[in-house]
Symmetry: C2
Subunit: 304 residues, 2 copies
């Protein structure tokens, strides 16, 4: 049984759904090539890195990156590098988040999480090495003709992942268990924890094209928050099997979520508003932003 979060009525075209499938397969093959082969020493670490970064997830961040790259005519090799770097950072964060000292989750994408499949020490090193690999990918010599632009991309990713971004959001999340957060505080936390990397995905796809940065930033910020609101809704509405990770976990662990703060109906309404704000930000691009628009719907309509 799949649980559909009914939020929007925007139909997704078959062409768009085909595009997502093609790009999901494509980023998988890019990551296949990018990750160290399991045959090379240290084998266990490399096997565990591949286990954690391959074969799963909707690759929302990569899709955002590719759609943004399409809008900005970013070269294919740069789009591949940025999409894989963002997915590697995301994969590292999941591996560390699942560890016993953090969220202690045994299940990820329908499989045992990394520390369950291997062990805690390996999971720690897997996360560490996946993060490093993201920066290695983005610092490949000859990636961009414009080296200054490449440095800018690395800086965007570092800022999004660090203590003022994803890692900082995770720290705030940790300290917020059992605390009655306001909606504003919850939003700040998510803006860092998941929003920063989603925003980075869109900005990296845009590849420094300044004309587009401002508009796609607003799009990315809103879609990032919408994504999180949906996550909270799914945590309540979906079951563990369809979610591929433990359902009801946030509610059970006494964490503030959009659903606990707003209630289910208003959380859905909030997701719709965020979605609309994201779409509005794309107005200047006209038809060229169709893919980003469809992705916004894809994210807010996703059923797992």
């Amino acid at each position: 049984m799949t649980t559909k979060v009914e939020l929007l009525e925007v139909p997704l075209s078959q062409a768009f759904l085909d595009w997502t499938k093609t790009k999901q397969a494509h980023i998988e093959s890019v990551l296949e090539r990018t990750l160290p082969p399991a045959s090379l020493a240290p084998q266990t670490l490399h096997r565990a890195m591949r286990y954690s970064a391959l074969g799963g997830g909707k690759r929302i961040r990569a899709l955002l990156c590719y759609a943004s790259a399409e809008l900005c005519n970013t070269e294919a090799n740069i789009a591949d590098a940025t999409a894989s770097a963002v997915e590697l950072i995301h994969a590292y964060s999941l591996v560390h988040d699942d560890m016993p000292c953090m969220d202690d989750d045994d299940l990820r994408r329908g499989k045992p999480s990394c520390h369950k499949q291997f062990d805690d020490a390996t999971a720690l090193l897997v996360g560490d090495a996946l993060q490093t690999l993201a920066f290695e990918v983005l610092s490949a010599p000859q990636l961009c003709e414009n080296a200054k632009q490449q440095i800018n991309m690395i800086n965007i990713l570092a800022k999004a992942a660090g203590s003022y971004g994803m890692a900082g959001g995770q720290a705030i999340d940790l300290s917020a268990v059992g605390v009655a957060l306001t909606q504003h505080e919850l939003e700040t936390m998510h803006q860092l924890k998941t929003g920063a990397l989603i925003q980075a995905a869109v900005l990296l796809g845009a590849n420094g094209s300044e004309a587009h940065i401002a508009a796609v930033s607003i799009y990315a910020k809103n879609i990032g928050l919408a994504f999180q609101v949906i996550d909270d809704i799914l945590d309540v509405e979906a079951d563990t099997h369809t979610l591929g990770k433990t359902a009801g976990k946030d509610a059970n662990s006494n964490k503030a979520t959009y659903v606990t703060i707003l209630g289910l109906a208003d959380a859905k309404k909030h997701a719709r508003q965020l979605h609309e704000a994201a779409i509005d930000a794309l107005a200047p691009f006209g038809d060229n932003a169709q893919r980003l628009r469809a992705l916004a719907s894809f994210i807010t309509q996703r059923s797992f």
Copy 2:
């Protein structure tokens, strides 16, 4: 009581010792400015990052970086960025290595290790965020006039820290507990675990100056291994108080070390040979490499 490892007779000049003190104080102030202030949210994470990266250690990697920068006339701001990036990577690795699922060490630089002072989840995030910060520092816009050179520096650091470098060495180390390693296997492990970052420190200081890279690489490789041999000797000879971390730990945990494989006397002899090979590699630079020569002695003579 301090324990002196008598390995070499090379006297260190007062001028050199003054230089190390000056540079140690300098890198401390650079890191002070680089790390997020503890007053900014998320405060606990930032406080723990500062706790872990400031106020301790001999800053061997930063000193190597500065001495190499001196040899290659690297600009001061680039030397500061590379020295602090390398120290941040080193600090991150110590925080993660000390965690219960890894070496489970309660003491670091004479203070409670990060996870003891804070908690495991915070230590995990501290390591993650310190690594990210290293790449943020190196990707600062306008750091280098030559952007391609800057990308090269980031790539050197990423390779040294990743699964074919430091993290990989740590993985090999983990899998080697209780295993009878050969000297060659032990050397490979250390070459990755500590050698790669030490080598990166010297190469980053050299800042892409190709004429110097080959020679300083050999210097760095040998001094990196010597450093580890001394570490193994100190683990046996020094006491916990003077070492600032738990002494006798490797021997007690049934880990292969240079001392267990070679015996104490031959381990010292091996350190001397590595030291000499490092010095030999500097011959082409004549007097210009005095600082790197003295550092080689400093590293092999260190008494803690």
